[in-house]
């Protein structure tokens, strides 16, 4: 890799963003971020990152801004190929939805999941893997891969 890979973090927890940014920069990535998914979408257009780390971001009513964001970029031809790593507590069964990343992937077009609290070793592994993969497996979503 000649040029630094660029990662966009969209996550509303300020401190978690700061920690991930620092750790990823230390690994040699360029990190941009936004706490707000709508503004994050603008950043996506301007900066064209190589991959996105996206939080589920459950609102008080149980709807997920992260889901919306994921669906939005998959139907946007410009970014439909950008890999997405989703931060979630799905594995420990979120009360608001019945969902398993193993079986219900087709409803949520992201490439990998990472459980919170973030284990950085796992984060690095998954980031490397998605950057190597380059193009999301859900490029042609909603068709299957």
């Amino acid at each position: 890799m000649n040029e630094k890979s660029k990662i966009l973090i969209i996550e509303d927890d300020v401190d978690l963003v700061a920690a991930m940014k620092k750790m990823l920069e230390n690994k040699g990535y360029e990190v941009i971020f936004d706490y707000d998914p709508d503004k994050g979408y603008e950043k996506l257009k301007n900066e064209k990152p190589d991959m996105i780390i996206l939080d589920v971001m459950f609102g008080s009513k149980g709807e997920s801004q992260g889901f919306k964001f994921a669906n939005k970029i998959r139907t946007d031809s410009q970014f439909s190929g950008t890999p997405v790593l989703m931060l979630t507590a799905i594995n420990s069964q979120n009360p608001f939805f019945n969902f398993s990343p193993d079986t219900d992937n087709e409803y949520l077009p992201v490439d990998a999941f990472l459980d919170k609290p973030v284990q950085f070793n796992e984060l690095f592994l998954k980031v490397e893997q998605l950057l190597r993969q380059k193009i999301s497996k859900w490029k042609n979503w909603p068709e299957k891969e």
Partner: protein, 459 residues
């Protein structure tokens, strides 16, 4: 409300049948003694014959009751009440025949009618209780009248009661009057007492429903709070990691030590919060989906990681699973969690070179599992508290890292969500055994099975 009273009705009907076996025995013995030892000229053959009918009827009652409870469904109470009706009616008629062959109104056996009045007024409405009372009185009146007018013969209890009392209108009238008054008092008294107890049972059921609602609110509150805490803890962990890993600059020895301490402690807090969330979600029955599981698959999945852990510490791991157990209906994830949870616990508190075992057997239509170990045991006075939240054994050595104190609460919640029951027995310093019983199909538990589970020993 009715649903919660079901077992009481069944117990009642069963107890009634059991009492009848006893009465039958007494009837035969006393018939024999009165006839042959006291030489009172009662008609023993007809009485033996009636005893035989009573015996057959009682067997029939047992069969009918079993059919009703096996079938289950919404109409169970209705059918059990009908069965008790049948029991009372046949009893009253047979009793009248026995009375006829053993001296009619001269025989104090006449008091036996009161039992049925008490039973009827305990279960049935006021109207029906008085109906049975009137029915009983009419049967007696009919018997006495027929004997009085010599339509049927009267059998004297020579040597026991004064002769020809049956022919003494004054005696008949007096006895009849006392009998009538006593009947009315008995029915109204027992009806009132039972009515009050039903009222208090209703109040109890309502209080329980209210408690359940309050408990749900509490759990929802805990869920929300814990969820928030979890987010904070996750952020703290990530931030400490930046320092601890040296990414923010090199640390000296003491800084590194305290960064590590903070990290470890926060990780413990994180695990605790995760367990609390897990337990609370199970309490609120979030995400429970029952499906058919092959029991063999379930066991295979949990056994191998446990086997590895056990062999690392030279712990002998014995498994016995009854081969006839094929399928169970339940939530696969939480059942796996239940088995692993208890087996991990067994390993954790068992010293090296000890042994643990897993036994799964049939228990009627339910599945009974025992998980035992040769570990440190549980002090006797702590056994009732083992499944409480945040319980930790006082005899656990300092070097065993205790968890959140929620593992066994989670286990109990899983068992209860499946309609089962869990309990523990132990000898301090020697062994511990967890036993739980799960219905094969939690969506369809027959009354028989429910009673079996409820009555299964709990300590």
């Amino acid at each position: 409300m009715n649903d919660k009273l079901v077992p009481a009705h069944i117990h009642f009907a069963r107890w009634f049948i059991r009492l009848r076996w006893f009465a039958l025995l007494i009837l035969i013995i006393s018939n024999f003694i009165v006839k042959h030892l006291f030489n009172v000229p009662i008609q023993d053959r007809p009485v033996y014959f009636i005893s035989l009918i009573l015996l057959i009827l009682n067997i029939l009652h047992v069969i009918i009751l079993r059919q009703i409870t096996r079938k289950g469904g919404d109409r169970v109470i209705y059918w059990i009440k009908k069965e008790i009706d049948l029991q009372i009616l046949t009893d009253l008629i047979l009793l009248t025949f026995i009375l006829h062959y053993s001296g009619g109104i001269e025989n104090p056996l006449i008091l036996f009618y009161f039992f049925h009045m008490i039973i009827a007024s305990s279960i049935f409405s006021t109207r029906k209780s008085y109906f049975y009372t009137i029915f009983a009185i009419m049967l007696i009146a009919l018997l006495v009248a027929l004997e009085y007018y010599s339509v049927i013969p009267h059998y004297n209890l020579t040597g026991f009661a004064g002769n020809n009392l049956y022919n003494n209108a004054f005696y008949i009238f007096g006895t009849g009057f006392v009998f009538l008054c006593t009947s009315i008092i008995i029915v109204s008294l027992s009806h009132m007492i039972i009515y009050r107890s039903i009222k208090s049972e209703e109040a109890y059921v309502n209080a329980n429903i209210e408690l359940e609602n309050k408990d749900k609110l509490k759990n929802e509150y805990v869920l929300r709070v814990t969820h928030d805490i979890k987010g904070h803890v996750a952020a703290i962990l990530s931030c400490i990691e930046v320092i601890r890993s040296g990414v923010a600059g090199p640390l000296n020895e003491i800084q590194a030590e305290f960064a590590n301490r903070t990290f470890d402690r926060t990780e413990m807090l994180s695990a605790f919060v995760k367990n609390l969330l897990n337990l609370t979600r199970k309490r609120l029955k979030h995400n429970i989906e029952f499906e058919e599981i092959l029991f063999k698959d379930l066991i295979n999945k949990i056994v191998s990681p446990i086997q590895m852990l056990a062999s690392d510490r030279h712990i002998d791991f014995n498994i016995y699973v009854d081969k006839s157990i094929e399928k169970i209906i339940g939530d696969p994830f939480t059942l796996e969690e239940l088995y692993s949870n208890l087996l991990l616990n067994a390993i954790k508190y068992t010293p090296d070179n000890g042994h643990i075992s897993l036994t799964v057997k049939n228990h009627h239509n339910n599945i009974l599992t025992e998980i035992s170990d040769s570990g440190i045991g549980i002090p006797k006075d702590e056994i009732p508290k083992v499944f409480d939240e945040f319980y930790r054994g006082t005899n656990v050595p300092k070097d065993i890292k205790t968890g959140s104190g929620l593992g066994l609460s989670i286990a109990r919640q899983i068992v209860e969500n499946h309609g089962g029951k869990i309990w523990v027995s132990s000898e301090l310093g020697v062994w511990t055994k967890f036993t739980f019983i799960l219905p094969r199909n939690p969506d369809f538990i027959t009354l028989e099975d429910k009673i079996r589970i409820d009555q299964k020993q709990t300590r």
